[in-house]
């Protein structure tokens, strides 16, 4: 569900380059500006992470549902429930609970999952690589669709090809991922028997969930690439290159695409960072052992510390990735302009 707004939201990328100082000359001052900006961003990141920890803490407690009661049988007495709450530390005032949680975090302890009876760090550590893998596969699929479509739309701009390419790009984003997932399973797993219905294992298990995730993402990449290419194709140096008799294909891919790919980088970066939101439903439908499934189960069981730590870690990953992408963007941008 939330994958959609999140994907688009994230695509705007952190720190709009519009506010970056223009015309920084020497490479050294670039670097200095970059580190200065980096420091500021690191500071901002800490504020954001603090905010996430507070909001995550409040949100899980705001929603009805008592984690202790969910672990107890129907015949539990009020005293037994109270004892369980005390054991889970839920009898303390919220402020105390919060500072205890944060105190543990500082010591590298992400909390304990009463539902899974395991350390949160172990659970997240096991799930994270799987979600990363799924996110990576989805990104490959997304780019595999977006690059040809976007290039086609931009090069054949204004023609039927353009419209058809953009139409194709929007189809994926227009489907509810639940609907698409059920449809894909019925066709490719049940009817044709080509791919497994769910679970994890070899590469065949990753295709359907990755396709579902990618379907939400590739429209934006296509659109970014198209508008980037249109912009690039209108530049003087492209005209000059064409005038020099350099073949069309080479101009498009070597000159224009290089420029247009930059915004794409930000989109892709933020989509990887936002994979948690999208994976919540997809991983649950396909029983993919990643962060999304862990989160869905944690929410159902109101496993407070697990939910909080997942939100915090995904927030951290998102912000760090955003920083990296921004830095990469600035560096690559200078290099492309220089060349």
């Amino acid at each position: 569900m939330g994958d959609n707004p999140a994907a688009v939201g994230r695509a705007s990328g952190p720190g709009s380059p519009a506010q970056e100082p223009e015309g920084a000359g020497a490479a050294r001052s670039d670097l200095r500006a970059l580190t200065g900006q980096g420091m500021r961003r690191v500071l901002q990141t800490r504020v954001v992470l603090f905010g996430i920890s507070v909001i995550a803490f409040a949100l899980v407690r705001l929603a009805p549902g008592n984690p202790a009661a969910l672990l107890m049988p129907v015949d539990a007495t009020a005293e037994q429930l109270a004892a369980m709450e005390a054991r889970m530390g839920l009898d303390q005032p919220p402020v105390v609970q919060y500072f205890r949680y944060v105190g543990n975090l500082v010591r590298g302890d992400f909390g304990y999952s009463y539902f899974y009876q395991q350390d949160v760090a172990t659970l997240i550590g096991r799930a994270l690589p799987n979600t990363a893998l799924l996110g990576f596969a989805a990104m490959l699929i997304s780019l595999g669709i977006a690059i040809p479509l976007g290039m086609l739309a931009a090069i054949r701009r204004g023609t039927v090809w353009d419209s058809m390419a953009m139409f194709a790009a929007l189809i994926g984003q227009s489907m509810s991922s639940v609907w698409l997932a059920v449809l894909l399973v019925l066709v490719f797993a049940v009817k044709l028997g080509w791919l497994p219905t769910s679970g994890s294992g070899g590469i065949e298990y990753i295709i359907l969930p990755a396709l579902c995730l990618a379907s939400q993402d590739y429209a934006l990449s296509t659109r970014m690439l198209r508008s980037g290419m249109i912009g690039a194709l209108g530049q003087d140096y492209i005209m000059a290159a064409r005038a020099r008799g350099i073949p069309k294909r080479r101009v498009h891919w070597q000159y224009a695409f290089k420029n247009a790919a930059l915004p794409l980088l930000t989109v892709v970066g933020s989509q990887i960072g936002g994979v948690l939101a999208g994976s919540l439903i997809v991983e649950r439908i396909f029983n993919w052992p990643g962060i999304g499934l862990l989160m869905a189960n944690a929410i159902a069981a109101r496993d407070f510390q697990l939910i909080q730590s997942i939100l915090l870690i995904s927030g951290l990953i998102y912000t760090v990735l955003a920083l990296v992408v921004d830095a990469l963007y600035t560096v690559l941008d200078k290099r492309i302009v220089a060349s």
Binding site: G65, F115, V185, A301
Partner: protein, 503 residues
């Protein structure tokens, strides 16, 4: 259960398999893959809520006693149990020649440890064991359990309690259930909580294997799969051999596709809980009766569910305290008249349904909403996520709710003593007679006597139309690939996968 069994001894079979695995069908060491609805967050069934945990525990461990899940108990890890006359102690004879999968023999120490662990406050699900005082072990084959108060469901719970290895647990309490050490016919070789996956492998030295019950299934893979359509897809795609909890209306299709269907009426009831506390709409007995009369239970069972049995009593046939009864009337006109006579002002009443706790819940809720509306009762239906639902009903924050209750081993004990006797879901129902009877049932060790007491309480509940209106007992369906046989699905949704055969 008449299936072909390998004629060789286990040892010989193992030796041959290595050489002939691909060619010899009779000796093939098969894998059976199961998808079901038991939440496998952990393998300690007293730490994780859920009936179906038992099916897996029965594989890696031996239950203290065996059960036919209809109220009859037979020897398990315990071969004999002798009650003291006052019901305050029981002497258990420990089966000899039983070994854990770490090679250690099972002794009375292990039995004592298994029972005493359940008194630990860390185990949220073990509440009923509080009345255990001590467990004495006069010798390696005898354990004596002493109670501070009678424990009428000792055998019931003993049939759901796998024996643990005391010394292994002491050595590694935190990691014990990651790969539990048990005495059962299979051993856990792989477990993953978040995906609810358990892989078990057959132990050839289990005491219970005989020439007649030997299985050719060397590996059992169990996976938690909460969405019914996912389970069906997996079966159709040939990824699994057995799926539990198939919706009745899919049974026909699966049968046509060549799958084996096993169906039974569950030992569970779907019911409506009513908030009858002073000041709420259903405090008025006329309105309660009107609601009951407005519901066409038969139509729900035949047209909507396509199977099941209309409830006529607060427990199902075969359970403790069940008595033959004509059941509830369906009379929408009469219901409308009762609504007129009652003080009900027509305001919308909050009707909560749990999301995904039982099949077709929302459809049934909407149907009841339409039926009640026909008699002038205005219900506002809302489907709630399970955790929210439980909080709302525990707090009495509702006018009515729909829920299901499963009686494990066909025993109504928990329902009558806790749900009704202690008004667990805050209905506000306070019939002093019922409270008294529920209290008596809570200490009645003798089953016959407890049945009498419970039936008496049920009669009041039927007359009062409170705290619950019982609707139906659903049909349970298990589907399997043809060629897989020998598993048993009990009506309380526990399944016995120990003696399977796969062609």
């Amino acid at each position: 259960m008449g299936f072909i069994r390998p004629k060789f001894g286990t040892f010989a079979a193992l030796g041959f398999t290595a050489v002939l695995a691909c060619t010899s069908q009779g000796l093939a060491q098969e894998t059976v893959r199961i998808q079901g609805i038991e939440n496998m967050a952990g393998l300690d069934r007293y730490a994780v809520n859920g009936v179906g945990q038992d099916s897996i525990a029965m594989l890696w461990g031996d239950m203290l006693v065996s059960s036919d899940h209809n109220g009859n108990y037979t020897p398990g890890a315990i071969t004999e149990w002798l009650w003291a006359d006052d019901g305050l102690s029981v002497t258990l004879s420990v089966r000899g020649g039983v070994v854990f999968n770490n090679g250690e023999p099972m002794t009375s120490e292990d039995i004592a440890f298994t029972i005493l662990r359940l008194k630990s406050p860390e185990l949220p699900n073990a509440r009923a064991w509080d009345v255990v005082d001590t467990v004495e072990t006069p010798d390696a084959h005898t354990a004596v359990v002493r109670f501070s108060a009678p424990m009428p469901i000792f055998l019931n719970l003993a049939s759901r309690t796998p024996v643990l290895d005391a010394s292994a647990f002491a050595a590694n309490p935190a990691g014990y259930f990651a790969a539990p050490i048990g005495t059962g016919p299979y051993a856990v070789v792989e477990f993953d909580g978040p995906t609810g996956t358990v892989v078990l492998e057959k132990k050839d030295d289990w005491w219970g294997w005989t020439d007649d019950n030997q299985t050719n299934v060397s590996t059992i893979q169990y996976r938690y799969s909460p969405a019914e359509q996912s389970r069906i897809s997996a079966l159709l795609a040939g990824e699994v051999d057995i799926i539990q909890k198939v919706p009745v209306n899919e049974a026909k299709r699966l049968e046509d596709e060549g799958f084996s269907i096993e169906s039974y009426i569950e030992n569970s009831q779907v019911y409506i809980g009513l908030r009858v506390k002073e000041g709420s709409a259903f405090a008025d007995p006329l309105l309660r009766q009107a609601l009951s009369k407005s519901i066409d239970r038969q139509a729900i069972v035949t047209s909507l569910l396509g199977g099941g049995r209309v409830s006529t009593w607060p427990s199902m046939p075969g359970s403790v305290g069940y008595r033959e009864n004509p059941g509830y009337d369906y009379d929408p006109q009469g219901a409308a008249t009762l609504v007129q006579q009652s003080g009900y002002d027509g305001r919308a009443l909050n009707f909560y349904l749990p999301n995904g706790l039982f099949a077709q819940g929302k459809e049934i809720g909407e149907t009841i909403q339409a039926m009640a509306a026909g008699s002038g009762i205005n219900l506002a239906v809302q489907t709630l996520e399970t955790a929210t639902f439980q909080e709302y009903i525990s707090a009495g924050n509702y006018d009515l709710y729909m829920n299901s209750f499963t009686m494990v081993n066909a025993d109504s004990f928990t329902q009558i003593t806790s749900l009704i006797g202690r008004d667990r879901f805050n209905t506000g129902y306070a019939n002093p007679e019922v409270t008294r009877l529920a209290g008596e049932a809570g200490v009645a060790v003798d089953l016959e006597k407890r049945g009498e007491i419970t039936a008496e309480a049920y009669r009041h509940i039927m007359n009062d139309f409170a705290p619950g209106l019982y609707l139906y007992e659903p049909t349970g369906v298990t589907a399997s690939a043809s060629g897989v046989s020998g598993f048993v699905s009990f009506p309380d949704m526990v399944a016995d996968f120990r003696f399977m055969h796969k062609d």
